[in-house]
């Protein structure tokens, strides 16, 4: 496990977390480089299917982040997103998908330091969990000879 470098995909909103991550950089804060950021107009636009696609394409962990409650650029996008996350996260857990690998956070445009810290702790916890082999196996399994289970 020593040479395992987690691959993490972060789905973030344009107005808060993306700007916050930018601030992390301009503040020259050093933090883990395992995260690939995908920018969205709003957390409300982050389709849960994208999270599943990230796992299917080999992500070991996922981050979802946007504006704090009451700070949404579109007033309520993050509130709607939160409700969906509650249901989706619970369903994932019910189906045995490892929800420890999906980290949700609110990071504002001013919280460059918080972003660095959350990324670092997420990378550390995913490193601890190891590669998400169960999902990778499912996604990479060739079509079985006869798949009638």
């Amino acid at each position: 496990m020593a040479d395992f470098e987690p691959k993490i995909v972060a789905f973030v909103c344009n107005w808060c977390t993306y700007a916050g991550a930018d601030l992390t950089g301009t503040s020259r804060i050093k933090y883990a480089s395992n995260v690939r950021i995908v920018r969205f107009p709003c957390t409300g636009r982050i389709d849960y299917m994208l999270l599943l696609k990230a796992f299917a394409e080999g992500a070991d962990g996922i981050m979802v982040s946007g504006c704090h409650p009451n700070d949404c650029h579109y007033t309520s996008g993050n509130f709607h997103a939160r409700r969906r996350w509650i249901m989706f996260r619970s369903l994932c857990d019910f189906m045995g998908i490892d929800t420890r690998r999906i980290k949700f956070s609110w990071v504002s445009a001013a919280e460059g330091a918080k972003w660095a810290e959350i990324v670092n702790t997420t990378v550390a916890s995913i490193r601890e969990l190891g590669p998400y082999n169960e999902y990778k196996l499912l996604a990479n399994k060739p079509v079985k000879e006869v798949t009638n289970g």
Partner: protein, 341 residues
């Protein structure tokens, strides 16, 4: 066709199973799950269900899997490299516990996959399957094999057909092909000389309910009939009937891509889906369910006999059993004969 008749005792079936297993063959047999019986790979004789009239799914997956790889591709700086079908990847398989209607279904699929184009993948699979058929001692009201050209003891498609001679009795083993003979050769001590002359009395009674030649003639005249709409009002438009059918062979071709590499697969499709005929333009030549239902019947009972000289139905009754809306095939076929043009 070789016809050779032997007897095998009820207790020897397990031994036969184990001999086949030792012969390093994969064995697919009826196994229950969630109250439904389907063909699954098994290496335990005790797991096999024997009390079924019919399995929920047909055995067609062994020769025509729901999803099968056609090729692998990989894009690189020199272009695209393609790795095609590898016949060596197809295992030797024994299909155990197949009903005569399913065995006939495999033979019908063969007609489809060898019509204008000889399908190498299908033919390779078929060449490596040994079909151990079991005659039917019981039938239910969904069964209509005798109207579809088959019967509860029909030998077509089986390599060896076992018929139990009464409840708890021994089995009559009819050896029908070279593959069937091979089984007797490797397990000769289990088979003994046969003194039974007639298996008919031990078979289920499945009355003939319609004449398919008459039906075919009738279908030519009723393309525009209102009967299609009337029959299919309750059809929900799913693909259950096609996916449990032993002869439905429609498939889709899909690429499963991961970046620059991936595989091309063929997977089942169904004429019951609206998407099946949807054009890129948005036009759908079969835009309502009645047209799709008509296609299903026409294909099986008119187009297939016209083009392939075989009917596309074995009378197994699975579609009727599986239908969530009780679209009963036999009932509809009988009513078509009374429909007005």
């Amino acid at each position: 066709m070789i016809i050779d008749k032997w007897l095998i005792s009820k207790d020897s079936l397990e031994k036969l199973f184990n001999v086949l297993k030792k012969d390093s063959k994969k064995i697919y047999a009826p196994v229950g799950r969630n109250g439904k019986i389907s063909f699954r790979e098994t290496d335990r004789f005790g797991e096999i269900d024997t009390g079924y009239i019919q399995t929920a799914q047909s055995s067609k997956e062994v020769v025509f899997p729901r999803t099968e790889k056609i090729l692998d591709y990989n894009k690189n700086k020199d272009g695209v490299s393609v790795k095609g079908f590898d016949p060596g990847s197809i295992p030797e398989v024994v299909l155990w516990g197949v009903r005569p209607c399913d065995a006939m279904g495999i033979w019908k699929l063969s007609a489809i996959f060898n019509w204008d184009f000889k399908d190498e993948i299908f033919n390779t699979r078929l060449s490596r399957v040994t079909v151990v058929g079991f005659s039917c001692a019981r039938a239910d009201e969904y069964c209509f094999c005798t109207s579809a050209g088959g019967g509860p003891g029909n030998t077509e498609g089986s390599d060896i057909l076992l018929t139990q001679l009464g409840e708890n009795g021994d089995y009559l083993a009819e050896i029908l092909t070279e593959k069937g003979s091979a089984i007797v050769t490797i397990a000769s001590e289990l088979f003994r000389e046969n003194t039974v002359l007639n298996k008919e009395q031990f078979l289920a009674d499945v009355p003939v309910r319609f004449d398919r030649e008459e039906l075919r003639v009738k279908l030519e005249k009723i393309f525009e009939s209102g009967c299609w709409t009337k029959q299919s009002l309750r059809c929900l438009g799913c693909g259950a009937c096609a996916y449990v059918c032993p002869t439905c062979a429609c498939f889709d071709i899909q690429d499963e891509a991961h970046g620059g590499s991936g595989m091309r697969v063929r997977c089942w499709d169904s004429c019951g889906f609206s998407l099946f005929t949807l054009h890129t333009s948005g036009h759908n030549p079969r835009e309502v369910q009645s047209q799709r239902w008509r296609q299903r019947i026409m294909h099986k009972f008119s187009y297939m006999p016209d083009r392939l000289s075989v009917y596309g139905c074995t009378g197994c009754g699975r579609c009727s059993r599986a239908c969530p809306a009780d679209m009963n095939m036999l009932e509809h076929l009988i009513s078509i004969q009374e429909a007005e043009a």
